[in-house]
């Protein structure tokens, strides 16, 4: 396969259509707009539907409609628009309708600004809408992953009849890298439960409404069982030189790229550093953390948020090891030097700890 230089936002659309997506509804917003534009360009000639909706509220409900009709469907937005979609995401999860929502994050709260931030983690990963539900969340850190994880998102959405969010910061959406695509397209197939206006599907019914308490409790327990299966089967994470790492750097999206560069330099200076990069933010790679907690001495979480994913890391590590946190927000990016400084500081701390331990051993 040959590679071509492409923005992450454009790669998402091409991958989606190759994955059988045949409907796109969206509303422009920086830094996600190229997705809507590319969908406008490529969806109609591919036999799909493109419509610029009147709002993100309408977009997400159009996803509800297309998904009901058994069509692979996608939308994209950024923080302010994703906020407006939360109602619809709750309904989609409740009615168990598959769809893919791409969130190219910017800085908040409110209008914030249009630079990259990772402050939407809680909203997206924990489910910002009402009620007990989960969305699967994938976090690409390269343009190639924007393409690959988009295809995976559609597979997971259908497999679990659940909304899947592709959560990428503005850098990942805006940057260009070489990318390659599969040379065969997935054939759009209508699932048996769809409501498509045909004799075969006439008896089908889709809703998130379950009026009696026992019925709704059962529905929720079924959803919970589904989420457990997702947690069991769909965890994805990348580990880079973690086998002997004393310091494990943790980050996703653009931050993970910076962490790899820092880790490479620190390794070259003899510091045992590794990188753990969650690819699925839900389900969270808890087991990776628990395994590494046995060998590593400290986890350093770096985020472009005020400390959101770090909560999940702390839950996963559960006090077994210290979890340090470093962040830049407002559109600023943690610099190589800043993170390297923290690594060196931690390395120094670990060294003195080890010396203390040795002394204690000797004295004993």
């Amino acid at each position: 396969m040959r590679k071509q230089l492409m923005k992450g936002n454009e790669a998402v659309v091409k991958s989606a259509i190759l994955a059988g997506c045949r409907a796109f509804y969206g509303y422009p917003i920086t830094p996600a707009t190229e997705i809507t534009e590319a969908a406008a360009l490529y969806m109609p000639p591919s036999g799909g539907v493109f419509l610029q909706a009147e709002s993100e509220v309408a977009s997400i409900n159009m996803l509800y409609g297309a998904a009901s009709a058994g069509v692979r469907v996608m939308t994209s937005s950024s923080g302010p628009g994703i906020s407006l979609m939360q109602e619809g995401m709750s309904y989609l999860a409740g009615a168990e309708l598959p769809c893919v929502i791409v969130d190219i994050t910017r800085a908040g709260p409110g209008l914030g600004n249009i630079s990259s931030e990772q402050g939407d983690y809680h909203q997206v990963v924990k489910g910002g809408g009402h009620g007990n539900y989960r969305t699967i969340v994938l976090a690409p850190h390269s343009v190639q992953e924007m393409a690959d994880l988009t295809a995976l998102a559609f597979e997971l959405a259908d497999r679990y009849r659940n909304p899947v969010v592709l959560l990428a910061d503005g850098f990942i959406g805006q940057m260009m890298e070489p990318v390659e695509f599969p040379q065969t397209a997935v054939e759009p197939r209508m699932p048996g439960w769809a409501v498509a206006g045909t004799k075969e599907t006439r008896g089908n019914f889709l809703t998130s409404l379950v009026l009696d308490n026992d019925g709704l409790e059962k529905h929720q327990l079924d959803l919970e069982a589904k989420y457990r299966r997702v947690e069991e089967c769909e965890v994805r994470a990348e580990e880079w030189q973690t086998e002997d790492a004393e310091i494990v750097l943790v980050g996703y999206g653009i931050v993970a790229r910076i962490l790899k560069a820092v880790a490479a330099e620190a390794r070259a200076n003899g510091i045992k550093v590794g990188v753990l990069r969650p690819i699925t933010l839900y389900p969270f790679p808890t087991k990776n953390f628990q395994r590494l907690a046995k060998t590593a001495r400290v986890f350093v979480v770096v985020e472009m948020s005020n400390g959101q994913m770090v909560e999940d890391v702390r839950l996963a590590v559960n006090g077994a090891r210290p979890v340090e946190f470093f962040s830049r927000v407002g559109g600023n990016v943690p610099s190589h030097e800043e993170v390297l400084g923290i690594v060196q500081q931690q390395a120094g701390r670990i060294l003195s700890e080890m010396q203390l331990e040795e002394e204690r051993m000797t004295n004993a």
Binding site: R2, K3, Q4, L5, K14, I17, L18, A23, Y42, P44, P45, S46, G47, V49, L51, A53, E54, S55, V57, A58, N61, Y64, G65, A66, S68, A69, V71, G88, Y91, A95, S115, G170, F171, Q174, M175, M176, E177, F181, Q183, T184, A185, E187, V195, A196, G197, T198, K199, R202, N204, F205, L206, T207, I254, R257, I258, A261, A264, V333, S335, H336
Partner: protein
Amino acid sequence: MPSEMVSEYEVSHARPKAFFARFERKDELQHQTHYCPGCGHGIVHKMVARAIDELGIQDRTILISPVGCSVLAYEYFDVGNVQVAHGRAPAVATAIKRSRPESILISYQGDGDLSSIGTAEIIHAANRGENITVIFVNNGIYSMTGGQMAPTTPLLQKTATTPFGRSAQNEGYPLHMSEMLATLDAPVYIERVGLGDNKQIAQATRAVRRALDNQVRGLGFSLVEVLAPCPTIFKMNPVDAQRWVRDVLGKIFPLKVILDRTKEAQPRQLPEPAPALDRIPKILGVANEDLPEGNPAAHDEKAVMDLRVRVAGFGGQGVLLLGEVLAEAGLDAGLEVSWLPSYGPEMRSGTSNCHVRLSRHAIDSPMVMNPDVLVAMNEPSLRKFYKSVPAGGWILYNGDAFPADCEQDDIHVLACPFTRVADELGDARACNMVMLGALLEIAGVLRDVNIDAAFKRLVKSPRWMELNGRALAKGRALYIESCQEVCNAY
């Protein structure tokens, strides 16, 4: 009573085929619906079901159940059923219809649903002329939640949320949605009917059927507003409630055909048939056979090659394009590349910059904080980034003279009025390519064939192709000249 009349009477009471035989929610009370005695929904449901029967569209029909008393409409209609969020039925119906054009969509909505929380969705569905049928049941009150004000509630009417009566100053006037929608160019048919007496009901039956028939014929957006009684909330018996609809609600919302373009309307075009699946990669421009093979140069695998460039200038100077040509040429040369733009509000005015990396190995971070080469296309950009260039690095500066206070030890500088040079070549906008020429000569990692390939992909106009070629050559020459000057100085 003559027998035909009896017969007609019996026929009108027969269960339409489009209704389920049983109402599952009230197993022991099969003769009842969940609606209150005298409620308008039961009558409207039956009109819709009979129209479905008469048009023979039961298999094709999808009913969108809203939020409101008719939230359970799916319990009655033996058609495809989708229940949706409050006010969003037109958006949901839009998407189903767009993907399944053969289906018949009924967006069944109440006055709170359609004229309050869902105003945006109904206006835009109507304005797009979606080929759907909207049944808008207006009883002037929020019934399901227990009698709060609706946008259609009459002035002075006391409700749970207007305990002193609706005042125009505080709550505004009864909203005439059908008239508002009729100002749009796209809808084909909007009629307001009532359930105020039998004559009105007969007209309502005809209107509902027409609205569905329009969709079957592909004409576009049709809406029937039905004024309906709610005896429970108005604390009236069904007869008085019906009379209230005719004498009070009907005066505020006159019954009439508000819009009828069905005669001149052309059936909406159906989408083009989908292309063959194996054509999709080609349509997307990702088919291998359409992508360039590239011109990788033979190189020493062990040799370190890692070029980090930061390009900065004013928006409009071609900052991003300079970087893109560099990255594209790097890819053509078989290198790993990354291009990261600043995409902030500065795009519209002020400064713009991008990070470019070319490497023989996988690129970890695409961010270039310490560039080997800084291309500063104006003085503010120079001042912003000059300190980030590490020892041994280069600064290409677009200006007559390099500011003395920006000079640093161990940093190479090529300062030149590149914009003026480009202007002399034919267009000041080619400044970026002159600077790229100098950059390429400094970096020495790419061959002409790589640059040509990048231009072929990124530059469409033959004039610019030619100009860019000359600009690059000029840039290379400027660098070589500057080196000679340095040599001569020694």
